[in-house]
């Protein structure tokens, strides 16, 4: 009986319109919240303190070892970067233990890291050399051709298999961009030009399947550099410059090695 009454039908229609408007409101709310939050979700950043255990790395002039300084700097990076809710920062080693390059790459790849930074110090026979160097993986022609050959073969097109030694190749251009951003940010922090990022055949980076760089934070053969890196205030400024360029890189590229979409 009542469906025939026009006022009830109109009320039902009004209710339908209200639900529609309510859903639209929720959708807009979610979208604006996403935009306001900068489309954030925790990006996984793996920090790798170089050397460790019986592998001392460089022996500095003041008696300190590179492995210890690398861990100190990486912990500071973790502390500063973790303050940003968009970043989840993990270390490949949290104490003084030896890890092979392969084990470090395995950790990053198993965690589906979005970013990998290996922390090291530099050595130079010229004691006056100072500053920092950012390295990225520079593929050779032969590696590029074997990678493209592999990609063009039918069996690998679907499953996207990449050999262990060529894991970095898909991310190599992004790694170069990350290295440039880091170098620029650190140049600004130091207030002077301190070189350009350097592409090399780095064994560790070649096996990491996400944008990856290696930073030599200071020259341990320079006493002033060594003193500076032991200063917590300097390390904080260094870590903040790294954090800013990482965030800049991640939000620009919207890069996700794990396939998650922000």
């Amino acid at each position: 009986m009542f469906p025939d009454r026009p006022e009830i039908v109109a009320r039902h229609r009004r209710r339908g319109a209200g639900a529609y408007r309510y859903s639209l409101f929720l959708l807009l709310l979610w979208l604006s919240a996403s935009l306001l939050m900068g489309q954030r979700y925790p990006w996984i950043v793996v920090m790798d303190p170089g050397h460790g255990g019986d592998d001392y790395g460089i022996r500095a002039g003041q008696g300190s070892f590179e492995k210890d300084i690398n861990l100190l700097v990486a912990r500071d990076f973790q502390h500063i970067l973790s303050a940003d809710p968009a970043l989840d920062v993990l270390l490949t080693r949290e104490n003084d233990r030896e890890l092979s390059l392969r084990e470090r790459a395995i950790q990053a790849n198993n965690l589906s890291a979005d970013l990998f930074i290996s922390v090291h110090c530099a050595f130079s026979n010229r004691r006056v050399d100072r500053g920092f160097i950012v390295y990225f993986f520079q593929p050779e022609e032969s590696q590029l051709s074997s990678f493209h050959e592999l990609r063009s073969t039918g069996s690998h097109q679907d499953v996207r298999l990449v050999p262990w030694d060529l894991a970095q190749l898909p991310a190599a251009p992004a790694s170069r961009d990350l290295a440039t951003r880091l170098q620029n940010a650190l140049n600004r922090m130091h207030g002077k030009y301190s070189g350009s990022p350097v592409g090399e055949q780095l064994e560790l980076l070649s096996k990491v399947a996400c944008p990856a760089v290696l930073i030599e934070c200071c020259f341990l053969t320079n006493s002033e550099d060594e003193r500076q890196i032991m200063d917590p205030f300097y390390r904080r400024r260094f870590a903040e410059a790294v954090r800013d360029s990482i965030m800049d890189f991640l939000t620009t590229h919207q890069y996700s090695a794990s396939g998650r979409q922000p």
């Binding site: 790395g57 070189g195 090399e200």
Partner: protein, 217 residues
């Protein structure tokens, strides 16, 4: 009658015996002369070879050895500087490679820094087509100071020196104590064929140059 026949027979037998002995003696003498001549010829040939070898060994060639540049450098640019050296040549290419490496291991003479740690020895050198496989003692790894720059300097001072000076060698493979290592001091990929790279040399102006001269100061 019988007696005369016997005497003639004896004389004939004696004559034959003497003739035979004489023939044998002359043959032996000729043979000995031939042997002596052969020996003499061989001696002359050997003497000639020895003289040629000695000449080759004593002749010197100028080679370019690459050491760590002590001058201003930025990043990997200007990392290595050449130093001319006189090395005695050898007809054996393998020996020549060892001589060059020994000169490199001996260190610089004109103000450059050593690119290879002290106490390193060359254990073996193999030449296969255009590939030189060089096996170093463990000190090249255990005494290495570390850092990417010095690792680059060590590797490319060896590779560039060999490829630049040994004709026919285009690639180098570095072994440590007879085995391949993934890296020398924890950074650069070592278990691969390494090619001559001019981009680490002082004065390099190629496309790989990313740091400008004005920034080197």
């Amino acid at each position: 009658m019988n007696q005369r026949v016997i005497i003639i027979f004896l004389i004939l037998t004696l004559a034959l015996l003497v003739t035979g002995i004489l023939l044998l003696y002359s043959c032996e003498k000729r043979k000995q002369a031939e042997i002596r001549e052969e020996e003499k010829a061989e001696t002359i040939q050997t003497e000639e070879l020895i003289t040629a070898d000695e000449e080759a060994a004593t002749s010197e060639v100028s080679v370019k050895l690459y050491f760590r540049n002590p001058g201003p450098a930025a990043g990997t640019v200007g990392l290595l500087r050449p130093e001319a050296r006189q090395i005695t040549t050898s007809p054996d290419k393998r020996v020549f490679v060892i001589k060059i490496l020994e000169a490199l291991l001996g260190g610089p003479r004109s103000g450059n820094f050593a690119s290879i740690p002290p106490g390193v020895a060359v254990r073996q050198v193999f030449l296969v087509d255009n590939l030189a496989v060089i096996d170093f003692s463990r000190e090249i790894h255990t005494r290495h100071p570390g850092g990417v720059l010095e690792e680059l300097a060590t590797i490319y001072s060896i590779v560039n020196t060999i490829v630049d000076n040994v004709p026919g060698v285009e690639r180098v493979r570095i072994l440590v104590e007879g085995e391949e290592r993934s890296t020398l001091a924890g950074h650069l990929h070592l278990s691969r064929n390494l090619y001559h790279s001019p981009r680490y040399l002082v004065g390099w102006r190629g496309p790989g140059r990313i740091i400008q001269e004005e920034n080197l100061q």
